[in-house]
């Protein structure tokens, strides 16, 4: 560029807020809805009209227009690239969402999942043409069993909650098989559990009985024994639990549950803390789902897809759903039908193959040494953050070490006029995604921070410094910084009440009725 005669230093001006004509702010572009920019006759895909042919649609042919709109290819790219830039992502910053395990998503895994042998294989191809896919499922199954010390695994569940459903169905099937279906209908769930746990129990016709947590957030064997009875089918326990603590009495709890004739379902959402450190099978767990999209880094994709294989103990192995892979005379085969088997089928086809490839790539990349190191680093990072904030923020269970997530409550915000929500929203202005808030429910104004093993020390230090600055600001009573936050994000706080009271759930052409 020719710099001759052109100012090359910025002119100093007052830092006033600029109101632009477009509403855009530099790189942050206001982007209309697809339906406001697309056109019915436009398409970004060139397709030749088919030759004249007889019609076999009969009177099933569509009569009117659908109402869709299209964009040319450059318009499509620009529309979705602009939208993408309104998202926070693990690739762009630390994502401390407790219980969600937002770790690095290796691009190698994306590349492997796109190998045509995997991405372009149909689930109903003759098994002779998909031996590599079946081998991959088998290899991942073996790895999951080795890591958990369990005897079997059901691979088909589509996400954590689906795996949970599968595991609880296996337990119910085992109970039915022993003739106790009519009597064992209660599931024990601690107050601190994920919402999916009680929802799953209800879905299979079980009722929920609460188990109180101790003051330190853990569940005691004594509390479990107090609510155990001949009517109990299972306990659903998250370990490490949602407060970020390993349940110290888990072995006694498992023994008590088994002695009462019930099963131990473990929510494996927090498996990232214990890879290579301990095996759920050794702790007495009967069934546990594994969120491949958490521990094994398959991308969250803005809310899925997930994958939730369920590992099963020897007692439950016979109650796994179809399909599963077997080896017959040196070649792999799929069992897709199991006559008379209680559990049957959880989903069409064989599960989240694309996620299996990514998860196996993650496991192979780490190896036994890297997996253990990952868990150790995740736990170390959480404890580092906990220790560095402990003097400013209150931890509900005192100074004890945590597992892979650090939990704070809002006692330290008392009388500051700042809430947990305000504090979290102020983090957005500082360039961070907030931590998990108000969960677990058992802790007032909870803030659950899970840094994961993916952060460098420099990144953790910057994060800690930012939270300390914000905490001190809150304590100084600088309420305005928090109450109005975020100010620098693509949007300020959104009116969720309005969204729920008068739901607008789709675009409707101007003038047409749009409300529920």
């Amino acid at each position: 560029m020719n710099n001759q005669g052109r100012p090359t230093r910025p002119v100093e001006t007052a830092a006033a807020e600029v109101k632009t004509f477009t509403g855009n702010r530099g790189l942050d572009i206001e982007e209309p809805l697809l339906f406001e920019i697309g056109r019915a006759e436009t398409t970004g895909v060139d397709i030749d009209e088919p030759p004249a042919h007889p019609d076999r649609l009969g009177d099933h042919a569509r009569r009117g227009a659908i109402g869709l709109v299209g964009l040319s290819e450059p318009e499509t790219l620009r529309h979705y690239v602009r939208l993408s830039r309104k998202n926070y992502a693990i690739d762009s910053g630390l994502y401390p969402l407790g219980s969600c395990t937002m770790k690095h998503n290796p691009r190698l895994n994306e590349k492997m999942a796109r190998l045509p042998g995997f991405s372009d294989a149909h689930p109903l191809q003759p098994v002779s043409t998909v031996q590599g896919a079946l081998a991959l499922i088998k290899q991942l199954s073996q790895a999951l069993m080795t890591m958990t010390g369990m005897k079997a695994v059901a691979m088909s569940p589509k996400a954590g909650a689906h795996g949970e459903l599968c595991g609880m169905m296996a337990i119910k099937a085992a109970i039915s098989a022993s003739g106790e279906a009519a009597t064992r209908k209660v599931v024990l769930v601690p107050d601190s559990a994920h919402g999916t746990n009680p929802a799953t129990a209800a879905l299979i016709g079980m009722s929920v009985r609460a188990v109180p947590a101790r003051a330190d957030g853990t569940v005691s064997a004594q509390a479990v024994r107090a609510v155990l009875g001949p009517d109990v089918a299972a306990i659903m326990l998250t370990n490490p639990n949602t407060c970020g603590l390993f349940e110290p009495e888990i072995v006694e709890i498992a023994e008590a549950v088994h002695a009462a004739g019930a099963y131990f379902y473990c929510d494996g959402a927090n498996f990232n803390a214990i890879m290579g450190k301990t095996r759920p099978g050794d702790l007495g767990v009967d069934a546990m789902h594994i969120n491949l999209h958490k521990t094994f880094s398959t991308p969250h994709g803005g809310g899925g897809p997930g994958a939730g294989p369920v590992v099963l103990s020897e007692r439950l192995a016979a109650f796994a759903p179809v399909p599963y892979v077997v080896e017959r005379e040196g070649r792999l085969d799929l069992v897709e039908h199991a006559e008379g088997q209680e559990l049957g089928r959880m989903t069409a086809f064989h599960g989240q193959m694309g996620m299996f490839v990514r998860a196996l790539a993650f496991i192979l990349s780490h190896g036994s040494d890297g997996l253990r190191q990952a868990s150790e680093d995740a736990v170390l990072a959480a404890n580092y953050v906990r220790a560095a904030l402990r003097d400013l923020m209150s931890a509900p269970f005192g100074d004890r070490p945590c597992m892979h997530e650090a939990l704070f409550d809002d006692t330290w915000l008392k009388d500051t006029g700042v809430t947990t929500l305000d504090f979290a929203k102020a983090m957005i202005d500082e360039g961070y995604h907030p931590m998990t808030m108000y969960f677990p429910l058992v802790v007032h104004g909870a803030m659950l921070i899970e840094p994961t093993e993916s952060e460098s020390k420099a990144s953790l230090d910057l994060f800690i410094m930012t939270l300390r600055d914000l905490a001190m600001s809150a304590k100084r009573g600088e309420v305005e910084r928090f109450a109005g936050a975020p100010r620098l994000a693509p949007r300020r706080r959104l009116d969720e009440t309005r969204a729920a009271r008068t739901p607008v759930l789709r675009w409707v052409k101007a003038g047409a009725a749009s409300r529920e």
Binding site: P123, A159, A199, A388, R506
Partner: protein, 446 residues
């Protein structure tokens, strides 16, 4: 290890800050006799190159659908996906973001979901759609449970044209919830009289069109009969592209529409991840499972989007939730929405015409073969043939000739006595040469 940034020095200083002597102290809550002293019996860390070799070898043992004339559908369809789609869904900001719980910094995902919901509602002819389910089969099961809640009845009538996997998934859910299923026998010629099965205990009738055999079914009379008895009609589809050519389920009176969205934007990937589509009437929205994006305004009055009506969901309602679903299929929904934005009305309807034309051409070729009968009167891009030999054996024979011929009904429903039926699909990926090669190979194998 290339994914772990901490150095040994970092770890030492962080342990000191955490106030512990060594890393084991942080795992002290694990009972000592349950702690693993040794590494797991698994291979050690591998380089990127080594992992590529290992997984590349496995992938190489599969026959990729694109490497051969390919006529397999039966619930998952091979379509051409524009390069733009896969590029965009790999944008870091879409790929590596979480569920949009912080709407101020997730407007990208939320606006996409709002567009997705609008597209699905338009395609199905319904008023509202959710932000996706795991896949078509689980969406079908959830629709049945929703109908139970709405009608306070617990018996579902399932058509014999419903994909057997969908029927099995629904039956599994029903069995565990203590509900009843009335499953009609497999109905390859779309001759069943479902209406007789509807009674005052029926919560819903579940009918698929195009059905698993490829038949197009008129849902209107079933909708009327169901409504007359206070039951709901759940319409199912597994081939979303068919909606570009065929009457929408909403137009035919469906109360809930569920389907598989894989066909648009998503590769086959051996069965998943796919994207379940779920739409219904506005009056039923509060009983709908799954996440919903809704429009609202921010503190400055600017339009924005949030997840809404979450009082239906498990993280609020716990055991009283409409479903236990949490994660959905966000990235596959994004692929669906981008592909459909590229297609638009003009592209989708033309794509549907190309599919139909190819299938009509293939049916005409196969109908000429001795002993082969086309069962369908009306179909879109998939139909069923009766063969003089067991279909599974023919598929094996054609596989050795490098042609993936279709899905034997016995693969989906062994023991149904329909071993001589083969379900065949033809999409825009199939050329005239592919279809000619298929007909010729089948003639030779008969």
């Amino acid at each position: 290890m290339r994914y772990l940034p901490l150095s040994a020095d970092d770890r030492r200083s962080m342990l000191a800050k955490a106030g512990v002597a060594d890393i084991e102290a942080l795992f002290a809550d694990i009972p000592e006799d349950k702690r693993l002293a040794d590494l797991l019996p698994m291979p050690r860390a591998m380089s990127e190159l080594a992992v590529e070799r290992a997984l590349g070898a496995l992938a190489g043992k599969n026959v990729a659908a694109g490497s051969t004339p390919f006529f397999l559908g039966a619930g998952a369809y091979r379509h051409h996906v524009p390069a733009t789609v896969d590029h965009l869904i790999q944008r870091s900001e879409f790929l590596t973001s979480y569920t949009p719980y912080q709407p101020e910094i997730a407007q990208g995902t939320l606006q996409v979901l709002f567009e997705f919901q609008t597209q699905v509602a338009l395609l199905t002819g319904m008023e509202v759609a959710n932000a996706s389910m795991y896949d078509g089969s689980t969406a079908c099961g959830e629709a049945m449970l929703m109908a139970h809640r709405l009608t306070r009845r617990r018996k579902a009538v399932l058509s014999g044209g419903l994909h057997p996997h969908y029927a099995e998934v629904s039956a599994t859910l029903a069995r565990f919830a203590g509900d009843e299923i009335d499953l009609a026998p497999l109905d390859p010629r779309a001759e069943e009289t479902l209406i007789e099965r509807i009674d005052d205990q029926t919560s819903c009738v579940i009918v698929q069109t195009p059905d698993v055999f490829g038949n197009l079914r008129d849902l209107t009379p079933i909708a009327e009969a169901a409504h007359a008895r206070g039951a709901l009609l759940i319409a199912v589809f597994t081939e979303a592209v068919s909606l570009g050519a065929c009457r929408s389920p909403g137009e035919m009176g469906a109360d809930i529409v569920v389907g598989e969205g894989q066909s648009i934007g998503n590769p086959l990937t051996f069965g998943g991840p796919y994207v379940g589509l779920f739409a219904t009437r506005a009056k039923y929205v509060r009983q709908m499972p799954g996440r919903l994006a809704g429009e609202t305004v921010d503190a400055d009055g600017k339009r924005g989007f949030v997840l809404t009506l979450s009082t239906r969901e498990q993280h609020i309602r716990r055991e009283k939730a409409t479903s236990n679903i949490c994660t959905n299929s966000g990235l596959c929904a994004l692929a669906f929405t981008i592909h459909l934005s590229l297609l638009g009305e003009a592209g989708l309807t033309r794509l549907a015409r190309v599919n139909h034309a190819g299938a009509v051409d293939l049916a005409a070729r196969l109908a000429k073969l001795p002993g082969v009968e086309i069962l369908n009167r009306h179909f879109f891009n998939e139909f069923t043939i009766r063969t003089p030999k067991p279909a599974a054996a023919l598929v094996e024979a054609l596989t050795t000739r490098g042609i993936i011929a279709g899905c034997p009904v016995s693969r989906l429903a062994p023991g149904a006595g329909l071993d001589d039926l083969l379900i065949v699909a033809s999409t825009e990926i199939n050329t005239d040469e592919d279809r000619a090669a298929f007909a010729e190979a089948l003639r030779a194998a008969l």
